[in-house]
């Protein structure tokens, strides 16, 4: 299949970006990133600078890949990361527009590569259970209702790619943050720190410059792991509850 790519190029955060047009011949069984490999191979053969893009596991779990394809984070297929998107989704002759995540809290590093370290700092603020190695009791001493464990798992399945932010008109990181809050706060192990956690993580999220949530639901629609916005509701509820009678409340 013959494709025309309009790819975002940007030398660094200090430079202005622009679209560059390339023609590529791909096969339908290729993954989207393998199609990008073809493009880069072609550019290297022409002694040009290949397009920088982030990728690693190429099986939808590491959360590295991040392309806005035809206006949608990770492209047209629901529940799919860029690396798992295959060219059979496209047609011969298609024009494909490829851009980086766009958010002030994810500054562009080069071309399609952005800085997502703000996510790490949100986790560092409280996205953990404070237990040192060796302090644990026997695993089966904490029975957890199967449905509770399943819900916690569904929230914990977040890969930290940032598609939720890229999809949101306000660049809000509520889905990412709430998924971790929901995962840990709904488990008995995480209960003790629940209030402190939700406050600390929300404050860090705001400090990073992410926008507010206005309930458009775009994050849920574009999330490659199909994480539910129910988590956002849960986080809002817990955040408000944590303000009541809390000495850490701001």
């Amino acid at each position: 299949m013959k494709l025309t790519l309009k790819v975002w190029r940007q030398k660094s955060g200090d430079h202005k970006g622009y679209f560059e047009t390339h023609n590529v011949v791909a096969e339908e069984h290729m993954s989207f990133l393998e199609m990008m490999d073809v493009l880069n191979q072609q550019m290297i053969e022409e002694k040009k600078t290949p397009v920088a893009f982030e990728h690693d596991c190429r099986e939808g779990i590491c959360g590295s890949c991040n392309m806005v394809i035809d206006g949608r984070p990770h492209g047209p297929q629901t529940g799919t990361t860029t690396c798992q998107l295959h060219m059979r989704t496209f047609k011969d002759g298609d024009v494909i527009v490829i851009e980086p995540w766009r958010s002030a809290a994810f500054p562009v590093i080069k071309d399609l590569v952005v800085d997502r370290s703000s996510f790490d700092r949100i986790i560092q603020a409280g996205g953990y259970i404070s237990v040192n190695t060796g302090q644990a009791q026997d695993a089966n001493a904490i029975p957890i209702e199967k449905d509770v464990a399943l819900d916690a798992f569904d929230a914990a399945t977040c890969i930290g790619c940032g598609a939720c932010v890229a999809a949101c008109p306000n660049s809000s990181a509520m889905l990412f943050t709430s998924a971790k809050v929901a995962h840990l706060n709904s488990l008995p192990q995480g209960e003790l720190e629940a209030s402190r956690r939700v406050q600390a993580m929300v404050h860090q999220m705001d400090a990073e410059g992410f926008g507010k949530c206005s309930n458009t639901g775009a994050c849920e629609a574009e999330c490659p792991k199909e994480i539910s916005i129910d988590n956002i509701a849960l986080m809002n509820r817990q955040y408000i509850a944590s303000m009541v009678g809390s000495d850490t409340a701001v």
Binding site: E27, H29, T133
Partner: protein
């Protein structure tokens, strides 16, 4: 060089407990003054960095990724073993130890493996305390499943994303230590050299990948948790960035590479679809709990399928050969990985393969749909449920167990595995070989430690499923925090290491010169093209079956390819900028050296064991023929230089507690 394993003396089951109680300690006030570098943030690196931080050491942690959470442990699917015996099915620490030694084809160290089995129980406790959402039964207690090479259910799992959940647990613990200031995290930094002062590992040269700047980082000791080298095959289930560079740079500084030829070829991966393929995707071994492996009995049927005239559904039951169940009735579809992989290769080589390339076999869930469906119908009180209804219910059960894997398969192949059996073929997955370490996980370079897949110590010649997560976390959470004290307790008077020491300047200069040389070749071939060619050589001659002639040829071809690389590679851009092609080039250059030592090791080991199958050494039934009298040792290779022969050092393996037997899964 005499390799001392430093295994403690005494009863096997008491060794670790006694040793731990007598190890030298570092007092809290001294820990605060001691710096430790941890490279890598997978299960081993992240758990080590977090735990060392908790203990009070000053930790500096490095990853080439943009975040510690991206390390490739994240992709492990099936599960983690632990000798909890929660299923009351006869499991014990000894049995896990025994299964691992046997599974590794008697090429690992008894005392290390027993310690691993002991620590396995603590790992599950720790992970649950961190909030890792393992699968549970309706009673709220933890669920288990079975993996290959064992007859108990000891594998804990979180759907098909166990690695993700365990890594996030370790990442969160690490994040907590970062927030407390005990760990300083360096993202997007790649270790490009090890710095030794007076023979001890005292720091690293790391390249800041965003700016290209070379940085000197000093510490009292260095811990590598940098993973395996499966990507020497180019196509593997490893992530694109997984590489041997940190470990290989240590080898250049005198560390020994042990058993490089022990590579695990995983039996159930999605077959290659074309030459453009960049990586292969694993379908978890856990699927073999419920999937049955088969090929068409008749060559004509196989041919018709390859040519698209028939599909799996056209082959009647009596014309299917469930070859694993036939050849290995005791373990059936759950034979260890090396055995299952070879069996698939044999069937495909005989012409029974089922995709266009002839390189695939079926993994079929039809029987499981029916079995689970019937049980579901019964528990739902549906009497006389139709066959369709039963299958539908059964598919629901399978979906709950392996949903994400089925979905992944469909995305990649475009075929619905709930209807059409999966097509699978072996692919490179894990490397049992790695840096040689003693019982303390210390390499032969004092102060340099290696954990997880980066070391060689626990899996012998073949790793059993769900044991990689176990080993990475055992090393990081429960071994290194103790054993590092053995080295550091003698360093409490050592002042902060000075990054201006001439050794740092020398190493930095060497890295700078090497990168500049590479970039300035300005040849005509891309880094990727060299990597692909290396991978083809490795797969052809050092893959599932090896022989002396092929291995000699491989070595020669790799040397030639290496020379070609250093005269004709083209790397766009410069060294002083964000340059992913340069990163890749430096890694491929190291693979081109490791590949040669790999072939040398495989040639020298004139026996078949585990993942190392030499065609010259097989039983009349085609099973691996081990030669314990001559080869019951660890091969640790010393790098001597670009065009020199590597030198072999041997560590004899002593088996005091298990009897060396021919592995039988029949």
């Amino acid at each position: 060089m005499k390799l001392e394993s430093k295994e403690p003396k005494g009863e096997l089951a008491e060794k670790w407990t006694n040793y731990r109680s007598t190890l030298d300690l570092v007092a809290p006030n001294n820990k605060r003054r001691i710096e430790v570098i941890v490279v890598g943030t997978g299960l081993a690196g992240a758990s080590a960095a977090a735990t060392l931080g908790e203990l009070g050491y000053n930790v500096k942690c490095f990853t080439f990724h943009d975040s510690p959470r991206r390390a490739h442990s994240i992709a492990a699917q099936g599960g983690i073993n632990a000798a909890k015996n929660y299923q009351n099915d006869g499991d014990s620490v000894y049995r896990l130890f025994y299964d691992t030694i046997k599974g590794g084809d008697y090429r690992s160290r008894e005392s290390n493996v027993h310690r691993l089995a002991e620590a396995s129980r603590n790992i599950i406790d720790q992970a649950v305390a961190q909030g890792v959402p393992f699968a549970r039964e309706y009673g709220g207690l933890l669920a288990n499943r079975s993996f290959g090479g064992v007859q108990v259910s000891r594998t804990f799992y979180a759907r098909g994303q166990t690695g993700q959940q365990l890594l996030l647990g370790a990442y969160q613990s690490l994040s907590r230590q970062i927030s407390l200031g005990n760990v300083t995290m360096y993202n997007r930094h790649e270790m490009l050299d090890l710095v030794k002062i007076d023979g001890k590992a005292r720091g690293i040269i790391a390249r800041n990948l965003l700016t290209g700047e070379l940085e000197r980082h000093a510490a009292h000791c260095v811990v590598l948790g940098t993973g395996g080298y499966g990507n020497v095959f180019y196509l593997s289930t490893n992530a694109m960035g997984s590489n041997v560079t940190a470990a290989w740079r240590a080898v250049h500084r005198g560390a020994l590479m042990a058993n490089p030829c022990y590579t695990q070829i995983h039996p159930t991966c999605i077959p290659q679809s074309g030459d453009y393929q960049s990586k292969l995707t694993l379908m978890s071994e856990s699927l073999r709990n419920d999937g049955r492996v088969w090929v068409p009995k008749n060559l004509e049927d196989a041919k018709a399928i390859r040519e698209g005239r028939k599909t799996a559904l056209d082959i009647p039951e009596q014309d299917r050969d469930y070859y694993l169940e036939r050849r290995y009735p005791a373990f059936g579809n759950l034979v260890p990985r090396d055995v299952a992989s070879r069996a698939a290769k044999i069937e495909c080589d005989k012409g029974h393969g089922v995709v266009k390339t002839g390189k695939a076999v079926y993994l079929d869930f039809a029987a499981a749909f029916e079995r689970y469906g019937e049980s579901e119908a019964l528990s739902k009180g549906l009497k006389n449920a139709s066959k369709e209804k039963i299958i539908e219910l059964g598919r629901g059960v399978i979906k709950a167990k392996y949903g994400n894997l089925f979905q992944m398969y469909e995305k990649i192949t475009g075929e619905d595995p709930y209807i059409m059996p999966m097509k699978i073929y072996p692919a490179v997955h894990y490397t049992m070989g790695g840096l040689w370490v003693d019982y303390n996980l210390e390499t032969n370079v004092p102060g340099l430690f290696a954990l997880g897949e980066a070391n060689f110590s626990d899996h012998g010649a073949n790793r059993l499923g769900a044991s990689a997560l176990m080993q990475g976390l055992a090393d990081g959470y429960f071994v290194i925090p103790y054993t590092i004290g053995q080295f550091l307790s003698n360093e409490i008077r050592t002042p902060k290491i000075d990054p201006n020491d001439p050794a740092f300047a020398e190493a930095e200069k060497a890295v700078d010169e090497r990168l500049s040389k590479m970039v300035n070749i300005k040849g005509n071939q891309s880094v990727e093209s060299f990597h692909r060619r290396l991978g083809k050589i490795m797969w052809e001659y050092c893959g599932m079956a090896r022989n002396a002639e092929g291995l000699k040829k491989a070595r020669k071809m790799i040397r030639e390819l290496r020379d070609e690389f250093w005269s004709d590679v083209f790397i766009p851009g410069s060294t002083d900028e964000f340059n992913p092609e340069l990163e890749k080039a430096a890694r491929v250059a190291d693979f081109l050296e490791l590949g040669e030592v790999f072939a040398v090791d495989a040639l020298q080991r004139e026996e078949s064991c585990g993942g190392h199958f030499r065609e010259e050494y097989q039983t009349p039934e085609g099973e691996a023929l081990r030669r314990d009298d001559e080869f019951a040792y660890v091969s640790a290779w010393e790098w001597k230089g670009f065009n020199e022969d590597p030198v072999l050092h041997k560590e004899e393996l002593e088996f005091e507690n298990v009897e060396l037997k021919t592995r039988s899964y029949k």
